[in-house]
C-alpha cells in the first residue's frame, strides 16, 4: 500500500529527532553557556524580552538548545515559564531610580544631566571586521587593561546621582497634560486572557513581549504612512532597575521591609507626539502626547517602535490598522504567530475531504436534495 503518511508515526518521529541530534553534534564543536552569555548579549536580551522571562542563564541555554533560532529559543523559554509557579508580584518601580548606562534625547541638543552615549553600535561603520576571524586573547587582555587604567583616571562622584526625565522639564512648561497618578493594580495578561477594549497595562504588556520584528514592522508602518505618527524621541535610556518584593506575610507593609531580589536591565523610551487638540475656547491647539516603550535588555529599536504603537493605540478613533488594538495586540506574539503559521504543516486531509465533498456537490449543480 502506498499511503503511509500517517502510519509509523512513532518510528518516524524518533528517527527525525535522532537526525536533529545528529545535525547538532556532527561538527563536534561544543558551545558553552558561559560563551553565549559573554558574547551574545543582544540575542539573550531579545529572547528574554520576547519570552517575558528575565534570566540570561536560561536564555543562553535556550539559544544553545535551539541552535540559534530566535523563535525556537523564545518558545522554549515560554514553555518553561508555564512550569513555574508565580508566587509574588514585584513592587512598582520608578524608572527615575535607574542606574543609567546610556541616555540620549533627540529633542534637545543638551538635556539636564547631559547626553550619555554609553555603549552603542549606532556610530560604528557596518563593515565586516575580518580581524575578528583571528582574535588573540593576549591582545584582548592588553586592550582591556589599558582601558581599565584609563577609566581609573576618571574620578567618580561621591554621590549617587539620578537623572531627571526630559519630559519633566517640558511638563513644567505646560506642554504636556498632567495626569492623575493611577495606582490601580495592572492586569496580568499571563493570568487572564486579554479582553477588549484592553486596559493600557494589558496593552503595554503585550507590546513589550511582542516579537521584535513584528513590533518594529508595525511601528514602522505607522511612522511611514499608515497614520504617520511621527514622534520625536524625548528620551531613550538603558540601565538597571532594582526590583523589590514585599514581605508576603506582613500585614502592614513598610517600604523598608521589602526584599531586594535583584536588578533587571531595561531599555525605556518616551516619545513625544504632537497632536492638535481643541481647547476650552474651541480653538485648535498644538500639544504633545507621550508614547511609552520599555523592554528587557538593550533593544532600542523595539522600545521606540513600541512607544509609537502605544500612542497609536491611545487613539482608536483613527482608521489605520496600527490604531486597531485587536489588529496590533493579537498578531505580534512570537509563540502564537510562529505556532499558528507552522501548524499548516500538520495534515489537513479530513478538512480537505470535507471541502472537496462540498465543492464537488456544488459543481454537480444546483438545487439537488442534499440528503
Amino acid at each position: 500500500m502506498g499511503y503511509v503518511a500517517v502510519k509509523g508515526g512513532t518510528k518516524a518521529i524518533d528517527a527525525s529527532i535522532e537526525r536533529l541530534t545528529f545535525e547538532r553534534l556532527k561538527n563536534q564543536e561544543i558551545i558553552e553557556i558561559e560563551t553565549i552569555m559573554a558574547t551574545m548579549k543582544s540575542l539573550i536580551d531579545q529572547i528574554m524580552s520576547e519570552s517575558s522571562l528575565y534570566s540570561p542563564y536560561l536564555a543562553a541555554l535556550a539559544i544553545k538548545q535551539a541552535e540559534g533560532s530566535m523563535e525556537e529559543a523564545v518558545f522554549l523559554m515560554r514553555a518553561h515559564r508555564s512550569t513555574l509557579p508565580r508566587l509574588y508580584y514585584s513592587q512598582a518601580v520608578e524608572s527615575e531610580t535607574m542606574l543609567v548606562e546610556r541616555r540620549i534625547s533627540a529633542s534637545f541638543k543638551d538635556i539636564p544631566g547631559g547626553q550619555i552615549l554609553g555603549a552603542t553600535k549606532d556610530y560604528t561603520h557596518r563593515l565586516l571586521d575580518f580581524e575578528l576571524l583571528e582574535e588573540d586573547p593576549a591582545e584582548n587582555e592588553a586592550w582591556l587593561s589599558n582601558y581599565q587604567k584609563a577609566s581609573e583616571a576618571v574620578k567618580a562622584s561621591d554621590e549617587l546621582e539620578f537623572f531627571p526625565k526630559v519630559v519633566d522639564y517640558l511638563r513644567e512648561e505646560g506642554l504636556f497634560e498632567n495626569y492623575e497618578r493611577d495606582n490601580t493594580d495592572p492586569v496580568d495578561i499571563t493570568k487572564q486572557s486579554i479582553a477588549f477594549p484592553a486596559s493600557r497595562s494589558a496593552r503595554l504588556q503585550v507590546l513589550t513581549r511582542g516579537q521584535t520584528g513584528a513590533v518594529t514592522a508595525l511601528g514602522y508602518a505607522s511612522l511611514r504612512g499608515y497614520g504617520q505618527v511621527h514622534p520625536t524621541v524625548g528620551e531613550v535610556r538603558v540601565g538597571s532597575l532594582p526590583i523589590y518584593v514585599a514581605h508576603p506575610n506582613e500585614g502592614e507593609q513598610d517600604e523598608e521591609d521589602a526584599f531586594y531580589i535583584g536588578e533587571i536591565q531595561v531599555t525605556e523610551v518616551e516619545s513625544f507626539v504632537p497632536v492638535t487638540k481643541k481647547n476650552d475656547a474651541n480653538e485648535q491647539e498644538l500639544e504633545f502626547e507621550i508614547g511609552y516603550g520599555i523592554c528587557y535588555g538593550q533593544n532600542e529599536t523595539k522600545a521606540i517602535a513600541m512607544s509609537i504603537l502605544d500612542q497609536c493605540l491611545e487613539h482608536p478613533e483613527s482608521s489605520f490598522p496600527t490604531h486597531d488594538e485587536e489588529f496590533v495586540l493579537l498578531h505580534i506574539d512570537s509563540v502564537e504567530a510562529t505556532g499558528f503559521i507552522s501548524h499548516l504543516k500538520l495534515p489537513h486531509y479530513v478538512t480537505f475531504q470535507s471541502k472537496l465533498d462540498s465543492i464537488r456537490n456544488v459543481k454537480k449543480g444546483g438545487h439537488t436534495d442534499e440528503n
Binding site: S82, P85, V350, N361, E370
Partner: protein, 288 residues
C-alpha cells in the same frame, strides 16, 4: 541546574485554574470561556488548547487515546501522547472503548462514546462568527445579544452563490438552543454525533485562549434552513478497501499500483479492529 517536571507538566495552581474554566464551560454549554492559556512544549496551533485540558483533568488511573485527523499514529498525535505519558505515566491505548480521555484533532471516533469517557477536541478558531466579524470585542457582544444573523447570512449567501450551502468542516452548530458554536474542524459527518452525546465533550483553543464544552445529553443542532437542510459528506456506493466498512467517514486515496481512486476508513483504530475481528472469524471457521 537540573529540574524535573511536575505531574502532568503544570503546577497544581495552573491546573486548578484551567479546571475552573472547564466547570464554567460545562455550566454554560457552547459559551466560550476565556482562560489564561499557557505556552506549552508543543507549538501554538498544534493542539495546545486540547493538551491543556487533558493535562489539567488527567489522573494516574486515566487511560488516554490521542488521534489526529482520525489516526492514532499520526505524527502530531504521537508527539502529544508522548508528552502526556512522559509527564504522567498514564496508559496509552488506541482502542476507543478502552480510553477514559480521548484527545482528538478534527474527528469524533466512529465508535459511540460512553458516559464514562471525555472527548477533548483541539480547536484552531473557536469563534464561529470570525468569518463575518473580525473583532473579538464585537463578536462577544453579538453572542451576548443572541445576534447570529451573520452566521445565517453566511449560509444564505452560499445558497445564493452556489445553489446550496457550501461549508466544509467546522459547520457551526446551535448548542442548547442558545449559543452558536464552532464544533472545531470536524467534518459535517461528525456534527450529529455531538447531539445528545453521552460523553462529555470539551473543546480547547490554546492560541485563542478559550475553553468551551458540550455537557452530556445536550441538544446540538447544525445550522441549516428548512428548505436547505444540513447535509453531511456523502460516500454513497463507496467502502473501505481494507475492512469493507460503508457507513463511516472515508479517506480518498490513489492506489499507486492501479492509479485508481480507493477509499479507506479515516478512523484507523476502528478499521484495525474490524480487520482483527474478521481475522478472528476466519481463524475460527477454518479451525472448526
Amino acid at each position: 541546574m537540573k529540574t524535573k517536571s511536575h505531574f502532568a507538566f503544570f503546577d497544581e495552581g495552573s491546573k486548578k485554574e484551567i479546571r475552573r474554566s472547564i466547570l464554567k464551560a460545562i455550566a454554560i454549554p457552547g459559551y466560550q470561556v476565556p482562560f489564561a492559556s499557557r505556552e506549552m512544549p508543543i507549538a501554538r496551533g498544534w493542539g495546545t488548547g486540547g493538551l491543556q485540558i487533558t493535562l489539567s483533568i488527567i489522573g494516574k488511573n486515566d487511560v488516554l487515546k490521542v488521534i489526529d485527523q482520525g489516526a492514532d499514529e499520526s505524527v502530531n498525535a504521537v508527539s502529544i501522547k508522548k508528552l502526556v505519558q512522559s509527564t504522567t505515566g498514564v496508559e496509552l491505548v488506541e482502542r476507543t472503548q478502552e480510553a477514559s480521555i480521548i484527545q482528538s484533532r478534527h474527528r469524533i471516533p466512529e465508535v459511540p462514546l460512553t458516559p464514562e469517557q471525555i472527548l477533548v477536541l483541539q480547536v484552531p478558531e473557536p469563534e464561529p462568527l470570525r468569518r463575518v466579524e473580525k473583532s473579538a470585542y464585537k463578536t462577544k457582544i453579538l453572542h451576548s445579544e443572541n445576534d447570529y444573523s451573520g452566521a445565517w447570512l453566511m449560509l444564505f449567501e452560499q445558497i445564493m452563490k452556489y445553489g446550496r450551502t457550501a461549508t466544509g468542516a467546522d459547520h457551526p452548530v446551535y448548542v442548547n438552543n442558545r449559543y452558536v458554536m464552532a464544533p472545531s474542524p470536524i467534518p459535517r459527518y461528525d456534527n450529529p454525533k455531538m447531539h445528545q452525546s453521552e460523553a462529555l465533550i470539551l473543546l480547547g483553543a490554546g492560541r485563542e485562549k478559550k475553553i468551551y464544552a458540550i455537557p452530556p445529553y445536550t441538544d446540538v443542532e447544525s445550522l441549516a434552513f428548512d428548505d436547505y437542510p444540513f447535509a453531511v459528506e456523502t460516500f454513497t456506493g463507496k467502502s473501505c478497501h481494507l475492512c469493507g466498512a460503508e457507513d463511516v467517514f472515508l479517506d480518498e486515496l490513489v492506489d499507486p499500483a492501479t492509479n485508481e481512486t480507493i477509499y479507506q476508513c479515516n478512523d484507523t483504530s476502528y478499521c484495525i479492529e474490524r480487520l482483527n475481528k474478521k481475522e478472528e472469524v476466519e481463524v475460527e471457521t477454518s479451525h472448526a
